[in-house]
Amino acid sequence: MSTSEEQAERAEQDRNFEEAFNLWRRLALQSPDEITFCRAGRAAQKAGRWMDAEEMFEEALRIHPMSPEVIVCVGSLFLNRPDGEPAANLLRAKQSFLRALKLDRTSASLILLGCTYRELKDPASAKEAFNEALLLEPSNEEAYLNLALLSEDHDRSEARGLYEKAIEIDPNYAEAHQLMGVLLHKEGLLVEAEYHFRRCLEINPEDYMSHLYLANTLAVQGRFEEAEEVYRAAIALPQADAAGFEFFAQFLEDISRKEDANKIRAAKPTQAG
């Protein structure tokens, strides 16, 4: 591995995606191959530079149009990008994943396809994709999590079982704990919800959303001092944004602490997110 590649890798590890993108792009232009263009595209995607990402993936496809990895990258870009027409993006993502699956059936591609179907409001096809992912890889916790998400609307107890299965496979699966916590909170099982949010925070102590969910659960239980403490921890995180401050201020208002709420609002960061 060259020094430039190492630098690019390091930048990605440090979550400095802008720099990683520039380094990967330079490398790809110096010695073009589809994977380096893909790496550049993925870094651009993570940096939120959607057009650059698309350009990099197009270059990669030009070099190797039948590479399933490149095609999956294109699908992922269109599944996640917020710019443009959402329905058109999702259809493009679906086409890409279906094409990639013709070349190579992997559980990751099936899950991404399933999520695309879910976003396209086609739960039956989504379920089929997740079930096929489980056939390929019976202990794929993400497939269970996605099946749980599909079940949440019509059968919460089934959803709960599926989340439990995902957590059983990977006890440190933070996303499953968080979604399980939200489900339990909806069902009024606040102590159980609290447990899952706390597990999220054990796994990732800097998880902003888990802080907010936990604080909310504590507030609903009437444990206002604890809720306040968690809200304060949340807004002290580097990723804290105006919305988090507003949630905290609303909580303070609801417990008749208008002055404190105003102070929190005054301290809001000027740019959200």
Binding site: G48, N80, A108, L112, N146, Y195, N216, R223
Partner: protein, 363 residues
């Protein structure tokens, strides 16, 4: 005590029992600055490993601790492997049978004073005979949750579930989001710790001295018992109107008070032991919820769910969900795709590495 002899105990500033004096003799016990019990000066010392007491040096021997699922020392063995002690406990910690001699260490509690049959933690003492603590939870009224009757009795040991849960520190929930509680099950919100999970510094029984808790600076319990339910319940009703904005008890708050009063009377009728703190907590919680309700009636906080339950007044789950969804779109990935997206990155890495190897081979 103990057949007529008198023992004098001396405590240090952190509440550790550092001297046990009796009949002209005295044992001195040592603690490190964090409060970990180190042993008896000139008699034995303890080996800690992984936050637990692992072994004991005594009279040229090393005794190894073997614990059961509750972290009670059920056996001790010598360095030779020979059994030195074998103990069976009743559910609440009383000793059923014992072979050998040494001491009793029940459910991760640092040590037992067999002189007074008391399990001792820095925060408070418990009685295996009575199956309860001698004093209420030191955290005070915070330990009581209105919607969980098991928390109303602050003398109860591990929610009266001693075959599953342990409480080696004697502390209940200290409200910190990152405490051991979070590793446990639902009962943890009341601060008790399911067996074999507690990382607290705890020790082998030894009839002897003090171990430590994870929070040595806890103040001693300061609860005054006053009166009976018959006195406490009217006090709730008397205080409420003063606390609620506008002087009115509204909607669900009033219903809550009625329910609470009924429950207290039903469960504690005739008891002289209901502590005033339970009543105070009840009043305070009702005050807070009622204030929230009054506030909501007057316009409420933005984004608050507009339902009529007390919980609903401050619940922002939906708002948080919508916000979370927006966050996923802004950066990162869709919900439920994180691991698959990682797999895509790993696949690219793998291909790149293989290409590098091939290139190197060609060169």
């Amino acid at each position: 005590m103990d057949g007529g002899s008198t023992w004098n105990f001396t405590y240090n500033a952190l509440g550790h029992r550092v001297q046990w004096a009796y009949s002209g003799a005295a044992d001195q016990h040592l603690f490190d600055p964090e409060g970990t019990w180190l042993g008896n000066a000139g008699s034995y010392s303890l080996v800690t490993f992984g936050g637990r007491y692992f072994a004991l040096y005594l009279g040229g021997n090393t005794l190894f601790n073997h614990v059961n699922a509750l972290n009670s020392a059920s056996m001790r063995t010598l360095q030779s492997g020979a059994e030195a002690e074998d103990i069976l406990f009743y559910p609440w910690g009383d000793v059923w049978a014992v072979q050998g001699s040494g001491g009793y260490n029940f459910a991760n509690i640092p040590y037992r004073d067999v002189t007074t049959t008391t399990d001792i933690t820095t925060a408070r003492f418990s009685s295996p005979n009575f199956g309860r603590w001698f004093s209420p939870d030191p955290i005070g009224k915070k330990a009581v949750k209105l919607d969980d009757p098991q928390t109303w009795n602050m003398y109860a040991y591990v929610r009266n579930n001693p075959t599953t849960l342990t409480d080696p520190t004697g502390l209940q929930n200290d409200a910190s989001p990152d405490k051991t509680c979070s590793e446990t099950d639902a009962s943890c919100s009341q601060g008790v710790v399911p067996s074999a999970e507690s990382p607290s510094k705890v020790g082998p029984g030894q009839n002897l001295p003090q171990g430590t808790t994870s929070n040595a600076a806890v103040a001693p319990a300061a609860v005054t018992l006053v009166g009976t339910v018959e006195k406490a319940v009217p006090s709730i009703l008397a205080e409420l109107p003063l606390a609620i904005a506008g002087g009115a008890v509204v909607g669900a708050a009033a219903a809550l008070i009625t329910n609470l009063t009924d429950t207290l009377v039903e469960n504690y009728e005739g008891s002289e032991q209901l502590s005033a703190i339970e009543s105070v907590v009840a009043v305070e919680n009702v005050q807070k919820l009622s204030l929230a309700e009054s506030n909501e009636t007057a316009g409420g906080g933005p984004g608050a769910k507009k339902d009529n339950t007390l919980q609903g007044k401050i619940d922002r789950l939906k708002g948080l969900g919508d916000y979370n969804k927006g966050q996923s779109k802004k950066g990162g990935y869709r919900v439920g795709t994180g691991k698959s997206e990682q797999a895509v990155d790993h696949a690219l890495d793998k291909i790149k590495s293989l290409a590098d190897v091939e290139k190197a081979a060609e060169e």
